[in-house]
């Protein structure tokens, strides 16, 4: 389904600020699986998702989706196959345009746009029906600019838009992190409903250990541009939040060790 093979990405190469954000990352994801990506800040989680979404081309390696080599596809073309929800609740919608207009754009994700009227009566009814399911009362506000809605409401709509046309792959990058706890829980639940109902293949970055335990059926942990843990199958069903915390601790200890060794060496040779 999704096959990431040995991708590498270095930001600002050959400068003092060089960051090796992905070092030979390989990951295969099965159709219909829901994978969480966890890891420390700056470990390369977003970079991994962005590589799949096509924000940049990797320095090395290949990405196949649905048996297509998409490594060199531009971002907008990958959107034919990939639906995305961002961390920033304002990133996924056009604030100055109405709810209906925003959704109508997503109803044609990856298709050509002609000179037909965008928001017709029947399209409006269809949108109202789907939006009603969110139980946010948004079906009565279809002609309001989306910029007037709360972050949680906008994120719910972004999720709806990303999945309106069933994507081959759904990418979620900490899509509940910027919301208040109540909205975050609601979006989390909505995500589960949609992914289950549509049997989507999804890759979700999260900082919430609870979310990583609750929603997906596989967890990968990243650290310094590498995948360091991969929990799936029976192991995943048994895993609990403390287990994940322990994994973080192990990494932290190893880092500490690395650092102390480095300072030792520096003192010795510096």
């Amino acid at each position: 389904m999704l096959k990431i093979n040995g991708i590498r990405k270095t930001f600002l190469p050959n400068t003092p600020n060089e960051v090796r954000a992905l070092r030979e990352v390989s990951l295969h994801i099965k159709e219909g699986s829901f994978t969480a990506v966890i890891g420390t800040n700056g470990s390369g989680k977003s970079t991994l998702l962005n590589a799949v979404a096509g924000t940049f081309e990797p320095d090395a390696g290949s990405i196949h989706l649905n048996n297509l080599d998409i490594t060199r596809w531009p971002e907008y073309r990958r959107a034919h196959l990939v639906g995305r929800v961002f961390q920033n609740p304002f990133a996924g919608t056009a604030p100055g345009m109405t709810i209906a207009e925003n959704i109508v754009i997503s109803m044609h994700r990856g298709k050509s746009r002609g000179l037909g009227t965008a928001v017709t009566r029947s399209v409006r009814d269809e949108i109202a029906d789907r939006v009603r399911v969110l139980k946010m009362g948004l079906e009565d506000r279809l002609d309001n600019p989306i910029g007037t809605l709360s972050g949680g409401q906008r994120q719910a709509l972004t999720l709806l838009m990303a999945t309106w046309l069933r994507p081959k792959l759904l990418l979620l990058d900490e899509h509940t992190a910027a919301l208040d706890p109540k909205s975050a829980a609601k979006i989390s639940e909505l995500t589960k409903d949609i992914v289950d109902h549509e049997k989507l293949t999804a890759l979700m970055v999260t900082h919430s250990m609870q979310q990583a335990v609750d929603l997906p059926n596989r967890i990968i942990m990243m650290h310094r541009g590498n995948i360091v843990e991969d929990v799936h199958g029976d192991q995943k069903t048994r895993v609990r939040v403390p287990d994940l915390m322990a994994a973080f601790d192990r990494i932290a200890k190893r880092d500490l060790f690395d650092e102390s060794v480095a300072t030792l060496l520096a003192r010795q040779y510096g």
Binding site: A91, T93, A94, R109, R113, T117
Partner: protein, 315 residues
């Protein structure tokens, strides 16, 4: 009276330029200075083609095509070659100066004794009025040529305004507006942002060139210098339009832009009547746009100071 109908006609003609800038400046938020060159391109193409015996409508359409191309080049420079937007426009505007001289073969082409787009309307009015020089229009005596030009321009403006409104509500038009509102979202929805920018600028400058073609026919000449400062005039018109009717809704934005341009031309006509030196016109316009751009934040700080001051007094 001819002063007012003149200002109205001029306002209607230039409102096409403002509508073009509504697309570039307001919708895709691109500070496009190509305008100064593409309005002249429209004027010079129309002048040359009409002088060569082309049907004025066909010549006007061809002029529009020229502007469309010019805008596409600006878009290409920015989207494809990553040149900053202002510089892209400046490059094309500068290049267009030479292009316009080439098109005209000299710096000025007079359009005397040649038909214009209002020829048909003139014939019609002459037929209806039995060939009178002056026509009683709602109680005013207006020369039949002025009336014909005014009505033709009004017709074109209403047509273009309606088409633009309809277009912006289509799938393509919706995508265009979204591209200016949130580029990231547009990419995630599978739209090529760069194509949208190129297309929008082409469309915008097509309208600007249309305005230039009509302007040349109205003034009776095309001049290589006529575009200087046009972009700022367009900006001023859009700002006035927004002050008049607000920005809520596409229909209002389009109507407001047309009304704003007309009002702006009326104000200019009155100011000139009162003795404003025509040479100072561009300075005054620039000052006006400056004031309109900074006024909102000034008012905000002023309000804060006043409320802050009163709080201090209470303590």
């Amino acid at each position: 009276m001819s002063l007012i109908i003149g200002a109205f006609t001029m306002g209607l003609i230039l409102s096409l330029l403002s509508l073009g800038m509504l697309i570039s400046f307001r919708m895709i938020r691109f500070m496009d200075i190509t305008v100064d060159g593409s309005i002249t391109l429209g004027a010079s193409l129309a002048a040359v083609l009409i002088s060569a015996g082309w049907n004025p409508w066909v010549a006007t359409l061809a002029a529009m095509g020229g502007g469309f191309l010019a805008g596409a080049v600006t878009g290409l420079l920015h989207a494809r070659f990553k040149i900053p937007e202002l510089l892209s426009g400046i490059l094309v505007m500068t290049a267009l100066y030479s292009v316009n001289l080439r098109v005209m073969g000299r710096s000025n082409i007079p359009l005397l004794d040649v038909p214009s787009v209002s020829a048909a309307m003139e014939t019609f009015i002459a037929f209806m009025s039995g060939g009178a020089e002056k026509i009683n229009t709602l109680g005013w005596m207006i020369s039949s040529t002025d009336l014909a030009t005014f009505l033709t321009t009004l017709f074109i403006c209403i047509l273009i305004g309606t088409l633009l409104f309809r277009f912006l509500l289509t799938h393509l038009g919706t995508a265009l507006r979204a591209a200016g509102d949130n580029a990231q979202m547009v990419l995630a929805q599978g739209l090529n942002n760069k194509t949208m920018i190129i297309f929008s600028l082409a469309l915008a400058n097509g309208l600007v060139a249309l305005s230039g073609a009509l302007l040349a026919q109205y003034q009776g000449f095309a001049d290589v210098q006529m575009g200087i400062g046009m972009m700022v005039w367009g900006l001023a018109s859009i700002i006035i339009g927004e002050a008049l009717v607000g920005k809520a809704g596409l229909g209002l934005a389009i109507t407001g832009t047309i009304l704003g341009t007309i009002l702006f031309r009326l104000l200019i006509a009155i100011a000139l009547r009162w003795g404003l030196n025509p040479n100072d016109l561009k300075l005054v316009t620039a000052l006006f746009v400056f004031a309109a751009l900074v006024a909102p934040s000034w008012i905000a700080t002023l309000k804060k100071k006043i409320s802050g001051g009163s709080r201090y007094a209470q303590n």
